[in-house]
Amino acid sequence: MWRQKEDSSSASDDGKVTLKVFSNLPDRKNGQGLVEQTIIDEYMKENPDVNIEVEALDEEAYKTKFKAYSMEGMPDVVSIWGQPAFLDEVVEAGVLAELNSDDYADYGFVEGSLNGYTYDGKLYGLPRNTDIGVFYYNQKMFEDNGWKVPETYDELLALAEDIKAEGIIPVAMDGGDGWPLACYLADVLYKLVGSDYSQIVSDAIESGDFSAPEIKEATQLMKDAADAGLFQNGYDSQDYATSQNLFTNGQAAMWYMGSWETSMATNEDIDESIRTNIRVFTMPTVEGGKAAATDISAWNGGGYAVSANSEVKEEAIKFLNYMYQPEKLSKYGWENGVGLSAQDQSEYMTGDETELQKQIVDLLANSTDLSGNPINDCGPSAFKTSIESEIQSVTNGTSSIDDFLSTIGASCK
């Protein structure tokens, strides 16, 4: 847990406004945290009468302290997640200020990206990123062994056999955390049902009944993959970093993760022969599935909001809008390779981007439909906790698919 305070000593000077920013980006020297800090520094430079204090904690600690703050008074600008699993409870508790959606007409937000931040027709926050669920793969390893990027789910499982025969792990999976498996399940379900995905998921969560045949089939497909040895031995107890290391060390041919890891391509801690060969493909199509290859699993996760009880609400909204000017968050984010923003970034392309970055941009540009939030983020947080734990048991065969579906259903009630 790491905190940073900016010039808190002069905060009480006459006429000076102090803005408190509470962020889930503790690393202020790299990636997204650096982008955020750069904008904060610029804002203070341009507005000498404003002093911004930052408190940053990593995600889990952040969410815990967020709750504590909601009782004793929120900082003015906060990180939030535009997903029912986080937002519903927070908005119902009345801790976030309503924003005027007309203000953002010219901000270039990607269509539909504000939906997750809207509750009862009112806007409560703004999205920072667009996340895509992808398979990162080692292109050189694929070429050397004559493997092809799979176009169907069956090809993916057949490919797993070939890769295993070489003594390599097909897909490194962060199964210990549960949420990447849930993203995988959502991805497969989306490939099965296409644009009906959101409706089917929200119906199931509303009624607590997950027995829809599509959900069952998707779960079966995920289990088939695990049974076929697509994931590494013991994937269900390994964490994010371990699964990533398997991939970046060349022990695994692929890694299933979100597009926010695009900066791997420029990470000098990763061996050059691997880092320059990282490419991506999205979940292949499923036989009989409604989604086309260009319908991709993508959503807008993290973002920012303003506290409802902020004493300097006007200044806070002013700062929020400043951050979201397209040439701030979006541009700096792009330049730092932190993945896709939720705004149109096409003008910032310089041509010097990594292959991986270009590929991700193309994926989004050529997409014909986007899935929306992964299944685990679509319900109340009790559902999220439940599915992220139970999904390990169903994929490793400890519990049956029916038991899994009824347990996660019960957690919605």
Binding site: E60, E89, G234
Partner: protein, 306 residues
């Protein structure tokens, strides 16, 4: 001085800090937990009183049963594996003497000095099925070495081994101190009577160590119930809920699932179980302590007579 201590105000001022600490850091939070246990509070905003609803759900919660079963396993592991080993090691160390004694005393205590976070990650790597130490050792001996130590069936045992190993040094040190406090005259007497090492251990060391064993066992049971940080870092209760422990489950429910009321209900049940365990253990040891005291006096008398 005596006058000072009989002044009630002085007594009060001396007791007050402890009393205040107990009231506000222990008793008040427990009362609040009991209160919130009757609500559907999410941790934010308003809430409703829902009576015993949380407790009804809790009684049927399969995860809580797993968590309590795991605590029981851990307590048994502590009592029947860790503590006998610790006691024997302490006795052997005591006999070792000289530099070896100091050296091994330090070595055995090292795991306790290392931060829990480091321990958890160390073992994560040891157990890793792809590049872990254990599987590599098996490979070196010609085995296949692809065992998934954290599979649902074996994960709890893998976790228990870490916990038993981690707490070993602590238990041993307390036993060691206890053994050092035994009057050497008794051993001399036994040696004159021709008792061998085993008899000396069973008839002198063990009986005289009973108060120490009592303290150690009580602490072991309580720490088995309270287990949180190592499990949280090692498996976070997974895969599924197979390595779930009560404290970790409480944390997950209260702070991740936004079921603050339910989390508090778990907390209340948790406190009751811990108190019950302490009372039961004290009852078990109570009678034996009296008989033990008598034996102790007899042993002393015998020693003196010799």
């Amino acid at each position: 001085m005596k006058k000072l201590y009989s002044n009630k105000l002085v007594i009060l001022s001396l007791v007050l800090p402890g009393l205040v600490l107990f009231l506000f850091a222990i008793l008040a939070p427990i009362c609040l937990s009991v209160y919130y246990g009757f609500t559907d509070y999410s941790g934010m905003g308003s809430y409703n009183m829902i009576g015993l609803e949380n407790y009804k759900t809790l009684l049927q919660d399969p995860t809580l049963r797993i968590a309590l079963r795991n605590s029981l396993y851990l307590a048994l592991g502590f009592i029947f594996i860790q503590h006998p080993l610790a006691l024997i090691t302490a006795a052997v160390l005591d006999k070792l003497g000289g530099r070896g004694e100091n050296f091994f005393r330090c070595v055995y205590f090292i795991p306790n000095v290392i931060s829990v976070a480091v321990i958890a990650y160390l073992w994560k790597f040891i157990y890793n099925p792809d590049f872990g130490l254990l599987n590599n050792i098996i490979k070196a001996f010609g085995g296949k070495g692809d065992i998934n130590w954290f599979s649902t069936d074996t994960a709890i045992w893998a976790v228990l081994i870490v916990l038993i190993w981690h707490g070993f040094g602590w238990g041993m040190l307390i036993y060691y101190t206890g053994i050092k406090n035994i009057d050497p005259v008794l051993y001399e007497a036994a040696a004159i009577d021709g008792a061998n090492q085993t008899t000396t251990f069973l008839k002198i060391t063990l009986p005289l160590m009973k108060p120490v064993i009592q303290v150690n066992v009580t602490m072991a049971v309580i720490s088995a119930l309270k287990q949180m940080e190592t499990v949280y870092l090692l498996t976070n209760g997974g895969p599924g809920n197979s390595t779930q422990f009560t404290a970790n489950y409480l944390y997950q429910q209260a702070f991740k699932a936004f079921k603050y009321g339910y989390g508090n209900a778990i907390g209340v049940i948790f406190i009751i179980i811990c108190l019950l365990a302490t009372v039961i253990l004290n009852k078990i040891f109570e009678d034996r302590e009296e008989t033990k005291l008598k034996k102790l006096e007899k042993a002393r008398a015998k020693g003196a007579a010799v």
